[in-house]
């Protein structure tokens, strides 16, 4: 999947949880507290179901999901 597509899909996904606010590609999703305690798990499901990356236990590093760019980097590393 092309990086731009990954980032756009991710922006759309995040937009379901963070309304009326544009999130920059390097904004820390968890540091800014824009998302709740359920978000990380839902993000993991999104990465698997919509971005086509099967997650293993070693992948559960918040740094991989920290921002839109981090997610795109991670997905591309995993070959998604």
């Amino acid at each position: 999947m092309e990086r731009d597509v990954i980032k756009q899909k991710t922006r759309e996904f995040i937009g379901r949880f963070v309304k009326n606010r544009e999130i920059g590609d390097d904004v820390g999703l968890f540091e800014t507290r824009l998302v709740d305690s359920m978000f990380a798990m839902q993000l993991a499901m999104f990465v698997e179901n919509d971005l086509g990356v099967e997650l293993a236990d070693d992948d559960l590093d918040l740094a991989n999901f920290r921002s839109i760019n981090a997610i795109a980097d991670f997905v591309q590393r995993k070959g998604g």
Binding site: S37, M38, M41, Q42, D57, D58, D61
Partner: protein, 391 residues
């Protein structure tokens, strides 16, 4: 109600009801009195594969989807909420290992749990940390190739009979979860026998007194336990709780109506009294609503819908709240019979209350749901105003 199920799902539910009525119903009241469901019955369910029903067949399970898993919880809870608690916690451990366990854990530990050779439980709650898991203080300390655990877990469902417990705590301040065998030196299990509900669920406090476990017992990456593992496990827990509440509601409706149908006051059936009809109408509607919310949530999750997470929260919240409310009315309809501690509705009344607290209290459910409901509603309102101005 059952029209909303496929023919196969209806047949499955009938099968589970039959199993529960023959294997659990004759024993459930005795279990409450003795403060524990029996190991023999547990072993039988394990032999049939029911303890691991939700695991894929290739992982040693029966390949139930979440609808079938929920229907099995409903059938169990109608008769023994305490016994359904075993399925809840064992499944949470199984599913967490299946999804986030290491290759070695999936290869060596998961099959043993799947066969029911060992029973699993999950330990979140501490004396000072319930709804707020970020307040966990159980500590893991690295000691060579081992981890040493110190802390106390409270109200662990099936903690008194579990062979393996998935324990949540902190390692260097980072959230972690690890499998701990309950026969590990330094583990003390203290049954909690004075519970309002879940009296036969072998609830226990578990003390970890500097006990050592292999480092490879950690599940998932260090730091991932609260963000990924706990919500994943709790989602299965909430599905079970929602359907357990549906089972309680069915019990309330069946027992109340059977009583009101045969009981007479001044030559007239109790069911003909307006006040009783009001109660029964509300009870029936709340049962249907809970059933449909739970079913809808499971179907959404099976489809991979993003809205499934909220649907599961809503189902847990609505069903447990309805169960507690209607169990209260079931006791009222049955009068003094409803107050018999060894009777069916008294047990439903006690157990229903617990469902409003476990797997995230209903206040936590409200907190999480309100945000998403408000966001969607505000969007819809903006659209409404836009459509109105364009009209």
């Amino acid at each position: 109600m059952f029209q909303s199920l496929t023919a196969e799902e209806r047949a499955f539910h009938e099968e589970m009801r039959g199993v529960v009525m023959s294997r659990v119903a004759p024993l459930a009241t005795g279990w409450e009195i003795d403060h524990g469901f029996s190991r023999d019955t547990t072993a039988w369910f394990a032999e049939q594969g029911y303890l691991a029903g939700s695991l894929p067949k290739e992982a040693g399970g029966l390949g139930w989807d979440r609808v079938r898993y929920g229907l099995s919880c409903e059938a169990l809870a109608r008769v023994s909420v305490s016994f359904s608690g075993l399925f809840n916690v064992h499944t949470m451990v199984l599913q967490t290992l299946l999804k986030w366990g290491s290759a070695a854990q999936r290869q060596h530990i998961l099959p043993i749990l799947a066969r029911g050779e060992k029973l699993g439980a999950i330990a979140f709650t501490e004396p000072e940390a319930g709804s707020d898991l970020s307040a966990l203080t159980t500590t893991f300390v690295e000691d060579g190739d081992q981890l040493r655990i110190t802390g106390v877990k409270k109200w662990v469902t099936c903690g008194a009979i579990a062979d393996v417990v998935l324990v949540f705590g902190r390692l260097d301040e980072k959230p972690v979860a690890a499998l701990v065998d309950t026969d590990t030196p330094g583990v003390r299990v203290i049954p909690e026998t004075a519970m309002l509900g879940f009296r036969a669920a072998h609830v226990a406090a578990i003390h970890f007194d500097d006990c050592a476990i292999p480092r490879e017992n950690l599940v998932g990456r260090v730091g991932s336990a609260l963000m990924f593992l706990a919500p994943y496990a709790l989602e299965y827990g909430r599905i079970c709780v929602a359907w357990t509440a549906v089972g309680i509601l069915r019990g309330c409706l069946e027992e109340s109506c059977a009583h009101a149908e045969q009981r007479e006051i001044r030559g007239d059936k109790l069911l003909n009294r307006g006040m009783i009809r009001t109660i029964v109408a509300d009870m029936g509607v709340e049962h249907q609503a809970a059933w449909l919310l739970a079913l809808h949530a499971c179907r959404q999750r099976e489809r991979g819908d993003m809205e499934a997470s909220n649907a599961i929260l809503a189902a847990k919240y609505a069903a447990s709240r309805a169960a507690a409310r209607q169990a209260n009315f079931a006791v009222q309809v049955m009068g003094a019979l409803g107050c018999d501690e060894h009777g069916p509705v008294a047990r439903l009344f006690r157990d229903a209350k617990i469902l409003e607290i476990i797997e995230g209290s209903n206040q936590v459910m409200q907190f999480l749901l309100a945000k998403s409901f408000a966001a969607s509603a505000c969007e819809d309102h903006s659209r409404f105003l836009a459509d109105e101005s364009n009209a």
